[in-house]
Point group: C2
Chain length 401, copies 2
């Protein structure tokens, strides 16, 4: 038996900023005496999470679950990585079942030497691993409208962060002998809809990967198994999954998903096209919509990211944007990865409004909803990156503003 | 249909160092024409890996699966992270089933204010996330003997790397008012064997975490759900799982697992005790035992780590240690985390012997088996960190030396 000391409450309660957070220690409650302990479960070849943990991806209320999406539970996120099982999904014709022994990648078009690769070829070529976020350009699109989403998962859950491993596309293009006249790369997936997206050769020769690994294992099926394009910092849709073909061309494909979709309708009725980069964005993940606070100490925490590189600064306001404090940024900060920020706060039990605002290494500052709307109008679906606000009511309930 | 260009083999094959690796492209094999494509699988709330991926933890051939271990498949490792489902296990009385709502952590002994924490308390206190390796001090113990293990998983699979999230123990000890007379912290788990280990207060006030998160989600059950001690760079056993109690004391507990076990028998018959730090170690993971090489290009790849901080250098030999080349180290290198190293190699088809040798930021160089044996003798079980060698036979088969 374990000797349980009496807890001398008055000596310490409230002595520090953490006093209230530690109020659960106020009881003289002993550590549960569970009696004789039973032998636990055996080792096993492949583990699973605890039966007490039930976080799950949020399914849109769609009629067709093959042309649909699921959202990462960012309100329950821990650290900067997203478990692969909870990485957001966006499919246009379902997840194809691909035998890696049968799959091939073709590189052709304006190249001197068209090449066909097996998956085993790709896995044995020189590769790199990098921690990067991935975000659908439709993420937080709900925030354009009059009824912003109620939770962090609903509003911002089309963003996740993983360690991605792959072969630099520049290496494959150099091997194929890409020609000077090639200005665009047209990538095609092996899904039923033949997802096609175009990206400039300049990006392809920079940091793009033909990725085959995710978080220490091969890609998950819903992330493009066995091969996907990974285009750091660029909108999710151009990171073509189940990659089977890259054609070098002197012009873009002007495919469905870069003309009628994934373009931005501007206030003057024109549409922006090929708006690839995901601009700087941040979100308070705790407390966020659906949480319930108790007065006293609270560590405000959240995530920030930028398609242009490093997050340099995150400011947090608890008074609806009147005053701001610098949050601490967790190291190591990595370019084009989630950055975790934290700010200690003593909630006094009165109504509060929480916001976060990030600045990236280019000096770009995340705009307010109003600033964004002035520039972009209200007709857009994609590339919303305005500040999100959470209201803390006097009873501790947290809701969207 | 996709136009398949003829591949003009002679123009490019062997033109570069990668030529041989790309030899699979030598066929004029078209990209498989799979006919009309079918709608794929639907989105789902919690994902699983592909049915074609079967990596699993290796179970020791033990009679009692509650007092046993499983090993991470390092030969199939990707990047620096280990999927939580494949993180190595070492249990002394099985994995207890713990309801986090019922679990408590007690801090007591030589403290001014004994404290009891709920799991929810811990999760809401200021926390940090860090990518760290974890390694059983018995890892690669097979290499002491005359019959070293045949694969990377068998020899070195009691090491894994995750992002760990937790509350700095220093914060909890400060809140409890740890007294000057306290020199040791005695940690106890909630498993049936009441695992007890002692560690110096100085380490506890440095970088130790009361961890509750792993790779973006709550700890896995076999990693100590809902709370474990995480002691960066120190042998796995002291990272007490299912943590329920920390007692501040003026002396260590001298518990079973720090006296009769987890000590190092020296050549003179004495035993080293409290040898916590895991010294620098490295391993070639590809190619490694069980792999089969084809002549030509091969990216040699492996992992290095040190309980004392950063890996500064990894050298690789392909000729049984006669000559060494510096491998490239993947950035960002993180202290007390796996570091991935890579070296391009053209295997000419003759017999070869691969070794890796790392140096950490203290200047410590990983020893050869012979160097280690001179110092430590052959009676030890724990803390083997000698160089591991793989033989590549003329037929491409890779075996331990």
């Amino acid at each position: 038996m374990i000797p349980i000391h009496r807890i001398r409450r008055r000596q310490w309660l409230g002595a520090t900023a953490l006093g209230a957070a530690l109020s659960a220690c106020k009881q003289n409650a002993p550590v549960a005496d569970e009696g004789p302990r039973l032998l636990g479960a055996t080792v096993r070849p492949y583990g699973e999470r605890s039966e007490f943990e039930t976080a799950k991806r949020l399914l849109a209320n769609d009629r067709y679950l093959e042309e649909s999406q699921t959202r990462t539970p960012l309100g329950e996120s821990v650290g900067i990585l997203t478990p692969s099982s909870l990485h957001y999904e966006r499919h246009h014709s379902g997840v194809p079942r691909i035998d890696p022994a049968q799959h091939r990648l073709l590189i052709h078009g304006l190249v001197d030497r068209p090449l066909v690769f097996t998956v085993e070829d790709i896995r044995r070529l020189p590769s790199v691993s990098r921690i990067y976020f991935l975000e659908c350009s439709g993420n937080s699109g709900s925030e354009w409208g009059a009824r912003p989403a109620a939770t962090a998962q609903q509003s911002h859950g089309l963003a996740s962060c993983s360690e991605w491993t792959g072969v630099p596309l520049s290496l494959l293009l150099a091997e194929a002998g890409i020609q000077k006249s090639a200005q665009w790369l047209i990538a095609e997936g092996a899904d039923a809809c033949k997802m096609v997206r175009s990206l400039p050769v300049s990006k392809g020769m920079d940091d793009v990967l033909v990725a085959w690994g995710q978080n220490g294992e091969p890609l998950r099926p819903e992330q493009g198994y066995p091969l996907r394009l990974f285009v750091p910092g660029w909108e999710g849709n151009v990171n073509v999954k189940w990659l089977r073909r890259i054609e070098a061309s002197d012009q873009p494909a002007m495919a469905r998903d870069e003309t009628s979709k994934y373009t931005d309708l501007m206030p003057d009725g024109t549409a922006r096209i090929f708006t690839f980069i995901m601009e700087a964005k941040s979100l308070v993940t705790y407390p966020s919509g659906g949480d319930k606070l108790k007065p006293g100490f609270c560590e405000i925490s959240g995530l920030a990211w930028s398609g242009r590189g490093l997050i340099r600064r995150v400011e947090v306001s608890t008074d609806a944007g009147r005053t701001w404090k610098d949050a601490s940024l967790q190291e190591p900060r990595l370019p084009r990865a989630f950055t975790r920020f934290r700010l200690p706060w003593n909630w006094d039990g009165s109504e509060a409004q929480l916001q976060s605002r990030c600045t990236d290494e280019t000096g770009y500052v995340q705009p307010s909803n109003q600033q964004l709307t002035v520039l972009r109008g209200l007709a857009s679906t994609y590339h919303y990156n305005g500040i999100k606000a959470w209201k803390v009511a006097a009873d501790g309930s947290v809701t969207h503003v």
